[in-house]
Amino acid sequence: MPPPTPLSPPELSYLYTSLSLTPPIRLDLRQPSQFRPIIAECSFLPHCNGSSRICMTEAGECIVGIKAEVEKDATTKYATVIEREKWIEVSVEVAGGGVAGAGSGSGGGGGGVGIGGISGAGGATGRDEGDGGAAVWLKEGLLAGGGGAGAGWSILDRLVISSGWHWKLYIDVLLLTPTSHPSPLLLSTAVNMALSSTYLPKLTSPHDIDDIPTFSDDWAISTPLYEPTSFPKPPISLPVVAVGDNVFLDPSVAEVAAAEAGLVITLSLVDEEGSCDVVGVRSMEVGRAGGKEGERKGIGRKLLREMVGACVKEAGEVIKGLGETTQKQMFRA
Amino acid sequence: MSSLVVPGQPLGSASAYIPGPGVHIFNGQIIASLVGQVVTTTPPSSSSSSSTNTTTTTTPTPTISVQKPILSTTATEEPNATLLPEVSSTVLCRITRINTRQATASIFSVNDHICGDEFQGVIRVQDVRLTEVDKVKIFNSFRPGDIVRARVISLGDQSNYYLSTAGNELGVIMADSEMGDQMYPINWREMKSTRTGVVEERKVAKPF
C-alpha cells in the first residue's frame, strides 16, 4: 500500500533511521507492537445477517455486510472443491464519489452514490501487490483459517443446511474512504467482526429431506455462524513490517514506505488463553524492498521468525478484544 | 565451463577489485549480477601483460566485471545486451516530427547497438548547434525522415530523452530531398540531391 505520491528521499531516510534505532522511535510514539485505536461497531444493518463498520485514523472507514442466501447444491451427491468454494463470495469495492480528489482516482467525481471503482481483486495488476486481490486474499484466509480446534473444521461445513441445500454467504466489503490499497488490517478486522456477528435462521424442516428447507423467522433462536463460546473464531490478518532488526505491528503508510520487508499474517484463535494458529502468511509490498544496491531484498530466516513471533504474541489479545467488543454490542442491542 | 557465473555468485572480496559492469557488492563481496564470463582488467599503468594474472599485492586494483556474450557476427565492444540510452551515449535516430521549438526523434540505435524498442527523444532548438544558437531554425536543420546521429544529454521527462547535435560529428547522416531522392553532404550545413542536384539545408554530421 504505497502512498500515491512517493515520499521524498530525506523523509524516507529519516523514517528509516528512526525506526532502526534501538529502541526505535515511531513517528506517533507507539511501541513497536502497539496498534492504533480503532472504532468498531457491529450488527447495525438490519437487512444483513451480520455487519460491521470499522474506522481507523489513517486507513479510513469501511462497512461489511454479510448476507446468506439459501442455494441448492450444484451437484446432488458430490460437491467438488470448486463447487464448495463458491459457497462464499467476497467482494471489495470502493464507494464512489466519497472524498473529492482523493488521490487514487478510483472514486468517481461528483457526489454520486453509486459504486465508483472496484479495487482489490479488480484492480490488481502486477504493480499493486500487497493487498491487491483483496477479495482473493480475504477468502483464502477464511477458507484456510476456520480451523481452530480441528484442522478439519471448515467454515463451509457450517453452511450446509441439509442434503442438497446450503447457505451461500455473500461478504461485501464497502470501502468508504477511496483508496486503491486498502489496509489489510482494516479489511480483516471488519470481516472478522461481521462474521462474529453473523446469525443464520434456524432450520425448521428436517435435515434429510431434499425439499426446499424452511426456517424459523424468530431471530431470537437463530444460530450463530461462529459459536461465541467455542473455538473456531474468524481469523484476523495482521500486517507486520521490519526495518533493520526491528519489527513493527500495524505499520502506518509512511512506515510501510520506509520498511524493508513486510508480511500479512493471518491467525486464528485456538483456545481461551489466547494462543493462535497461523493460518496464512503473505508477503506485502514495502517501499525499500529491492531495486537498489545495499537494500535488503528479502526476509532472512531470523527476521521471519521475529515477525511471525511478534504477531503471534499480540494476535490473541486482538482477536479476543474484537470478539468481546462484538459480543458487547450484540447483546446491548 | 566454470568460467561462467550466475547472479548471486561471489567473485571475490570487494577490497581486491574495483567493481565493473555486471557485478555488485554485498557484504563486502563482489557478487555477479549477470550470467556470463568473468573479466578482470588491470589498469594499463602497471607492467603486467594484459590481465592474465589475478591480483598480486603489487599491481593496482583490477576492475572485475561480468560480461554476457552475445551471438553476433561482429564482436563489438559493448557486450551486455540490454541497453537503454544513457547520458552521453551516442544514438542514431529518425526524425519523426518537427516544430519551431524542437524536433522529435525516434531512437533506434544506442552506442552502435540496435534496440529492440524505439525510444523517443527530442532535439530542442538550442541543442542543435554549438555556436550561434540563436540563429538556428529547426526547419533548416532537420526534416522528418532524416537519420540523425546525436548524443543524449539528459534522461529528460517521463517520455522523452533529450538529444543534442551540437558537435561536428553529430547531425544528419542520411536524408532524402523533398523530391524523395537521396542526398549527400556538401558542407556542414547543406546537402545535395543525387539526382536533381537541388541543395537543401541540414545540420550535417561530419562524415568519418
Partner: protein
C-alpha cells in the same frame, strides 16, 4: 492490551464547547457582536458558537455587504433583501463586508501564504506542487534559487538538470507568489528561508486548523536533550517538523569580506538541494515525534494550531508523559493534553 477498540461515539460532545475559540470567536473583531438583533434564528445560532448553515438568513439589515459564502435573497413577505449563507460555517466581517468561513474546507491559496508542498510532477521548466488546494500549484524553474550564487543566470543546463533540484515526492516550503484567475497558485522559493525540506517529518492536518500568523516558521527549544526544532506550519495544513538548522542566510552581511560572502553563498547553495539528512540524535527524533503528536492532537480536538498552542501543548505533553497509542484518534489522553494546554493558556 495492544489494541484499543472504541465503540462509535455520538458526534459532537460538550467537551468541544470548552474550546471556546475553535475558529469562531476570534474571527470577529472587537465590536464583534454584530448588530442583527432582529434576527431570531441568527441569535440562536450565535449562542452555539455563531455557526450558520446554508440557507440560513444571516441578516436583512441593508447596511451589510454580501461577501464570500453568502448570497442575496428577496424575502417574499417583506420584499426586503436579506443576506443568506451558502456555507456551513462561522460569520466573519470586515468593515461592512459579511462573509462566511466554512468549518471544513480545502485550502484556498492567498498571495503571501507560507505553504508546505510536495512535488507532484516535473515538467520541462516547472514543477507541479501539491499544496492541498483545489488546483495544484506551479513552481517555475525561474522562481527558485539556483545553486552557485543567488544572482546566477539561469541556463539551459539547469533545465536539463531540473530533476536535481526537486523531483517527484520532494517536500518544500515556499511562498505563494501570484494567483491566476482560476485560483491556481504560483509559488516561489527565492529566499533562503524557503526551499527543500529535510531532517524531519511531514504531517498534514485540516487546512482550517492552522491559524494565520505573522510567522509560520517556529523554532522551539525542546526538553530531554532534543535541542532546537523547527516547525514549518504551512497555511495549507501541511506541516513539517525538522531539526533546527542554522538558516542559510547571507549572514556575512555587507561588511563581510566579499570573498567570504561568495564562498558562503556557494556553500549554502550546494546544501539547498541535498537529499541527505544531517546527523539527528535519537533525543531530537523523539521530541520531533512528540511535537508531531501534539499538533495532531490539537487539530483532532478542534483547537487551532499556532505558536502559543504548540508551546503549551508541548509543555502539557511533557507533563503527561504520554506513550504511543494514547495519542491516537479519539484517545482520551490526547484530549487531556489539549485540555491541559487550554487551561495553561487561560492562566496566562
Amino acid at each position: 492490551m495492544p489494541i484499543q477498540i472504541i465503540a462509535p461515539a455520538p458526534f459532537v460532545t460538550a467537551a468541544d464547547e470548552e474550546d471556546d475559540e475553535g475558529g469562531v470567536r476570534l474571527d470577529f473583531d472587537n465590536e464583534g457582536d454584530i448588530a442583527m438583533d432582529s434576527d431570531a434564528p441568527r441569535r440562536a445560532g450565535r449562542q452555539t458558537g455563531g455557526i450558520v448553515t446554508p440557507g440560513e438568513v444571516v441578516t436583512d439589515d441593508p447596511q451589510w455587504m454580501r461577501g464570500h459564502g453568502t448570497y442575496l435573497c428577496q424575502s417574499h413577505e417583506s420584499g426586503s433583501q436579506s443576506i443568506v449563507s451558502s456555507l456551513a460555517g462561522t460569520i466573519s466581517k470586515t468593515n461592512k463586508l459579511l462573509s462566511i468561513r466554512a468549518l471544513k474546507f480545502r485550502y484556498v491559496p492567498e498571495i503571501g501564504d507560507l505553504v508546505v508542498g510536495r512535488i507532484l510532477e516535473v515538467q520541462t521548466k516547472r514543477w507541479r506542487v501539491d499544496i492541498a488546494a483545489p488546483h495544484s500549484a506551479t513552481l517555475l524553474l525561474s522562481s527558485i534559487n539556483l545553486p552557485g550564487g543567488i544572482l546566477r543566470k539561469r541556463t539551459s543546463t539547469d533545465e536539463l538538470q531540473i530533476r536535481t533540484f526537486f523531483s517527484e515526492g520532494d517536500l518544500l516550503v515556499a511562498e505563494v507568489q501570484t494567483l491566476s484567475n482560476d485560483g491556481q497558485a504560483s509559488l516561489h522559493t527565492r529566499s533562503l528561508k524557503y526551499g527543500k525540506l529535510r531532517n524531519g517529518v511531514f504531517m498534514m492536518i485540516d487546512a482550517g486548523m492552522v491559524r494565520r500568523m505573522k510567522s509560520h516558521v517556529l523554532t522551539m527549544n525542546t526538553s530531554n536533550g532534543g535541542g532546537e526544532v523547527d516547525i514549518y506550519l504551512g497555511v495549507n495544513g501541511y506541516i513539517y517538523i525538522a531539526k533546527h538548522t542554522t538558516p542559510l542566510t547571507e549572514s556575512g552581511g555587507p561588511e563581510g569580506k566579499s570573498v567570504s560572502i561568495t564562498r558562503l553563498e556557494e556553500e549554502a547553495s550546494e546544501a539547498i538541494y541535498s537529499n541527505v539528512n544531517e546527523e539527528i540524535s535519537p533525543e531530537t527524533r523523539a521530541e520531533i515525534a512528540r511535537i508531531a503528536c501534539v499538533i495532531g492532537a490539537l487539530a483532532k480536538n478542534g483547537v487551532k494550531v499556532d505558536e502559543e498552542m504548540v508551546h503549551l501543548g508541548y509543555e502539557a505533553a511533557l507533563e503527561e508523559f504520554l506513550q504511543g497509542m494514547e495519542w491516537g484518534g479519539d484517545g482520551e489522553m490526547g484530549r487531556r493534553v489539549v485540555e491541559a494546554s487550554l487551561v495553561k493558556r487561560r492562566e496566562q
